[in-house]
Symmetry: C2
């Protein structure tokens, strides 16, 4: 289970209803205003609850979006975990953790891709999340020049990896172990991470 | 214009009708039997034309699939062109050619992605094409170990690049020049190409 699911789950029926109301309103606001334009305070105002209750149930705005998207993997938490380690081997750790996290949820990954690559893909909450949270965190972790472009490329490769493995199911990629894929692809994507390559 | 569009285009109405009949039958067979299971001979038999006429109109089976998919870019020809050059800088050339080819056809790329990532993505002709033609050619060009897995990873990164640039339109990636993206991403993906890294 992801940490956001266990955290602050209400025990009473009233609590459950309130939690659902928060998720419904958050989904509406994320869809209309994007990730950056949505605030916990604004959601609390619409639902009529104190923002502290939203923080209690979902942690922060990212945790709320994880709940709205019904992600089986708490991607921000997983990413934060691997980004705190040393620069050496960073790309390999990201790839391995990505695959180990999603391998048990292949249909969920495929559904996420399908439901978010439609005509208005650029307005999708999940794209704002990818751009404003995941890529942003990778960019913050990098040093040197062209941080954001390098982070975009890094994320694009991981996205392509997920689509090729879980949606298109290309072989032998779809069946290779996370460790083998990470050992092979890690040193390639590591080139985007290392400052020495982009002084 | 792609070479398959100019080549062997019929001038008479009867020729146009025959060409359309071939494309219709080819679309049916590619969808039912996949790329590998479809033959020019079998299509000719169903339509009632000699296979040599199909070769005259479309070149080979790959050219026929390019016509069926109505691709604005003759991907096999472009890929063959860059693969014939030296190993040095191969990844950079592939990325640059990929972007220069598709930058003028962004909506077509997005439409191709959307119409081929559905529930039965693994049965889609375009996926068989990616797997059986494009990745196959990259694998044939590589030396060393794990050829097919390395080619899968290479293709997955290029696919992710196209989706991030043309569908999700992540910035600054979507607006960066093909040359800049290729110069940055090329050395990374080159690690998958080089034999020395995979003895």
């Amino acid at each position: 289970m992801s940490s956001s699911r266990g955290r602050g789950r209400p025990r009473s029926q009233e609590g459950v209803d309130r939690r659902e109301a928060i998720i419904t309103e958050a989904r509406r606001q994320f869809s209309q205003k994007g990730f950056a334009g949505t605030s916990v305070r604004g959601i609390g105002r619409e639902v009529g609850v104190d923002p502290s209750l939203i923080h209690h149930y979902f942690g922060d705005k990212q945790g709320l979006l994880v709940a709205v998207l019904d992600l089986p993997v708490d991607a921000p938490a997983k990413l934060a975990e691997v980004l705190t380690g040393p620069e050496d081997g960073l790309a390999e750790r990201v790839i391995r953790t990505f695959l180990e996290s999603w391998d048990g949820h292949r249909p969920a990954f495929a559904a996420l891709v399908r439901s978010n690559l439609g005509e208005s893909a650029t307005d999708m909450p999940v794209v704002g999340f990818l751009d404003g949270v995941l890529i942003e965190r990778v960019a913050q972790r990098l040093e040197g020049d062209l941080l954001r472009l390098r982070a975009d490329l890094f994320a694009s490769a991981v996205l392509g990896l997920g689509i090729s493995r879980y949606v298109l199911q290309l072989e032998p990629l779809a069946s290779a172990s996370p460790a083998q894929v990470a050992a092979l692809h890690g040193p390639a994507l590591q080139r985007l991470v290392e400052q020495s390559a982009h002084p």
